[in-house]
Symmetry: C2
Subunit: 275 residues, 2 copies
């Protein structure tokens, strides 16, 4: 059985596609501080839910070294720094394809979600962190090394980011950054002006994506993106920030992701289909 | 004869490659306010220098509609707004391939210049305006529409840009922006602190290119890039702005263009070779 796995800092989702083409997804497996023990527990969960794994696509928080299958940094899970998923290949007894979690979420949206049918699909995942991914002609765009574009700098003198830089997009609109600035969790935040401010930062990120990547569509994924009215605010702000191209900016599709929580694991399952 | 043409707001360069593989370049043809008359004069110059044109690659300032071969905006040449190079196809008597001028300059550098041998080559042209181009696997990357990434926004409340936006990269480091801020033309500017400031803006642009495009190398072209010591300042600043990836940022090659003035026309000639 081919298994898609999405590893978050707190929980792990696993999934596969049944013979009818329906997704079977199991959530709520705890990400433990010990990498090897988490792998052993995961093996049990996979076998209980789907049977023995023959191939696994794993999406993981980063930064990652995709070639060496390594986690480079993990601020919330110090025990995971420097680990290699080659260790899990022995535990699970199958080969592992490692991917950046945001890449897989956007891949899922590009294949079967809000980006379906577009040639170049970029997107942000807005949650605990800010991820970015891009799919070109049906393939995940990797470039030269696995950079996390949530760390694009909006202001070199801006607020400190968990990564050690200042003024990264993530330092403004991650869940924690919003909590710190506005004193409320995003899902409790009802202040329209606060959401104007958040929309402005997201639109700014979309402007930078547009001028450098020139995608057909930009998909906004993750819980924060779902706030009522946010998409319209982002679209309005984005058009103002691209007033040099009034026609094209109005035509560029900024859309909400179809899969609020499961884009990552669905992306992993879809990548298995083509592996 | 296949002809490469690089159209600037003030002068036009034409070129070709002789049988030995050497570039033959003619410079100093004036860009006139009248599009048709400029084309008729250019036809004479081409025939005088190289003989009758059978195919032309034209690099032009933008924004352009590459499909319709149209100039969308031309702040310095109002008579060129909305014109189509299909008109020149009749005058020159040959098909024309239109390209963004910065794309061609980076294509020239990627094929035979400072970016030769790299898989993904991004670059800025730093002069009267700020251009950006990218070559992936030997081909110019176009994306969905011809956006000019010199208009990436560094600060939505920043100085006004000629394009109508505020705080674009071009609004900080174009020739005119430097003249306005420091009271001197870039080639007369000797203040080290001024060049630190300019380097910081270029490095910021390179940070954004890196996180979104992940190129193997970034080539800095144009007269302003050649200022002694600027490259080292940019590299130093860039590493600070990517301290999340100390290893990779040190390995990413930011280099000077090989062709100080002629990258655009050489890029046009090289594109002809593969056309």
């Amino acid at each position: 059985m081919k298994i898609g796995i999405d590893i978050g800092a707190q929980t792990i989702k696993i999934g596969t596609k049944d013979k009818k083409g329906d997704y079977k997804i199991k959530t709520g497996i705890k990400t433990g501080p010990d990498f090897i023990k988490t792998g052993e527990k995961l093996k049990g969960e996979i076998e209980k839910s789907f049977g023995r794994a023959s191939l696994a696509v794993i999406g993981c928080f980063g930064p990652l070294d995709l070639f060496k299958k390594k986690v480079i940094k993990a601020p919330n899970l110090p025990g995971w720094v420097g680990i290699s998923f080659r260790g899990w290949e022995k535990i699970l007894g199958c080969p592992i394809i490692l991917e950046n979690d945001a890449n897989l979420a956007i891949y899922g949206e590009a294949k079967v979600g809000a980006g379906k049918g577009y040639k170049i699909v970029s997107g942000f995942t807005l949650g605990s962190g800010v991820g970015y991914g891009c799919v070109m002609d049906g393939k995940i765009y990797h470039g030269n090394w696995d950079v996390e574009a949530g760390h694009m700098i909006l202001d070199p003198g801006g607020p400190p980011c968990g990564c050690g830089q200042k003024g990264c997009l993530e330092a403004y609109i991650s869940r924690l950054a919003i909590l710190e600035k506005f004193g409320k969790e995003p899902h409790d935040l009802q202040d329209e002006k606060a959401w104007d401010w958040i929309a402005h930062k997201i639109a700014w990120g979309c402007q930078l994506v547009t001028v450098l990547v020139k995608p057909d569509t930009i998909v906004l994924c993750g819980g924060i993106a779902q706030h009522k009215g946010l998409l319209e605010k982002v679209q309005k702000c984005y058009r103002k920030m691209l007033r040099i191209y009034p026609k094209e900016a109005s035509e560029t599709k900024i859309v909400l992701g179809k899969y609020i929580e499961h884009a990552g694991v669905i992306g992993a399952v879809e990548l298995l289909v083509s592996s």
